[in-house]
């Protein structure tokens, strides 16, 4: 299945899924936050898609749109195809249901995103900081992160 066919097939799963046209080289779709676990479960279990691997989970801070974009990178060993699943959530109250029941590796990947962006994964079993110290204040990869320790390069 090539990129366009895969993207169209995924969009036919549910009426709330829409294609993400900004991504040019791989199939990418946008889903609603509440529907995310159900859609990922169907993408994992249905033999037509068979996305058995969650390769990576990252976040993007769109500070001008006041949104976080959470990107789930899926890969299928059976069909050898990739899919990006994006979720847009509001920046002031970033909450999303966890997917670590579907993909156990998501437990640490979601902890990393929580550590650096402060996204709250609802129903996550162990949401702690991963890279930074436990008493760290703030989330450093947010675009508006300020710290007295950080130095600006002289111009």
């Amino acid at each position: 299945m090539d990129r366009e066919a895969l993207q169209a097939a995924v969009c036919q799963l549910d009426s709330s899924i829409r294609p993400l046209e900004e991504n040019a080289d791989r199939a990418a779709v946008v889903v609603e936050a509440a529907a995310l676990p159900a859609i990922l479960r169907r993408l994992r279990d249905e033999p037509e898609f068979a996305f058995a691997q969650l390769l990576d989970h990252v976040a993007v801070d769109w500070i001008d749109r006041e949104q976080f974009e959470l990107v789930y990178h899926l890969y299928s060993f059976k069909h050898k195809h990739f899919l990006f699943v994006s979720v847009f959530i509001p920046r002031e109250d970033p909450r999303v249901p966890t997917v670590c029941r579907l993909y156990p590796v998501a437990e640490w990947q979601e902890r990393e995103v929580y550590d650096l962006f402060g996204v709250l994964y609802e129903d996550h079993p162990d949401l702690r900081r991963l890279f930074l110290e436990d008493d760290w204040i703030g989330f450093p990869l947010r675009k508006d992160y300020q710290d007295d320790f950080m130095l600006d390069r002289p111009r």
């Binding site: 930074l132 110290e133 450093p140």
Partner: protein, 224 residues
């Protein structure tokens, strides 16, 4: 006893009966300390791979300076070689390692990241700006990464510092840290030019003379 009496003329003196009289015990202790350094290698990033791993190899052999027993454990170690970026999360662990080492202990900080934070000093929320924010450093070895020779220069500087430095009469009194770099006024180009001059001077071979010195001169195996 020959090497001891040669190296320590100020501390050991021969008594006309053939015995040896110890005059200054500091010298002997410092001499022994300086020549039996046991490094604890603390390598976190590229310096450890580029420089520190080469120092144990056959080309740049650290065993020549009596500092061979490099191992990643504070047990019996008295020299901490820091190689690589130190981040905030690693800093308490580094402090623990330093405190587990035996007294007297010395620290060599190698590379830009360890000395000052290096390229991560701006716009970074993690990197500690210099190992001396956490532990006292004796010798700084600049470079990014330093050559293995630079580490040896730092090691020899530290040995010199230990030999001249401490005395058991004033425990805890240390000298100021030093920067192990080329002496002022001498540049790398000077050294390279000197080496080039030497190589040119020593490496001229008169081919005809060399052939005449061979056991079988040319022309014997052409079938004639």
């Amino acid at each position: 006893m020959g090497i001891v009496t040669d190296k320590l003329p100020g501390a050991l003196e021969k008594v006309p009966g053939g015995n040896v009289l110890v005059t200054r015990f500091d010298e002997i202790i410092n001499w022994a300390r300086a020549n039996s350094l046991w490094p604890l290698t603390f390598g976190t990033s590229c310096c450890a791979i580029e420089m520190l791993m080469a120092t144990g190899g056959p080309r740049h052999d650290m065993a020549r300076f009596g500092a061979e027993v490099a191992r990643p454990s504070p047990r019996q170690a008295d020299l901490l070689i820091l190689a690589g970026t130190i981040v905030k999360r690693m800093a308490p662990r580094l402090r623990t390692l330093y405190e587990q080492m035996a007294e007297p202990r010395y620290v060599i900080a190698t590379g830009a990241c360890t000395i000052s934070g290096g390229p991560f000093i701006y716009h970074s929320y993690t990197t500690v700006r210099g190992a001396d924010e956490i532990i006292p450093v004796d010798v700084y070895v600049p470079g990014c990464p330093p050559r293995p020779e630079q580490l040896f220069h730092g090691l020899l500087t530290l040995q010199k510092m230990i030999k001249e430095g401490e005395t058991i009469r004033e425990p805890g009194v240390r000298r100021k840290p030093v920067i192990s770099a080329l002496p002022e006024g001498v540049t790398l180009e000077d050294i390279q030019g000197e080496m080039k001059e030497l190589l040119v001077k020593e490496n001229v071979v008169d081919v005809h003379q060399a052939v005449d010195k061979l056991k079988w001169p040319s022309g014997t195996n052409d079938g004639s």
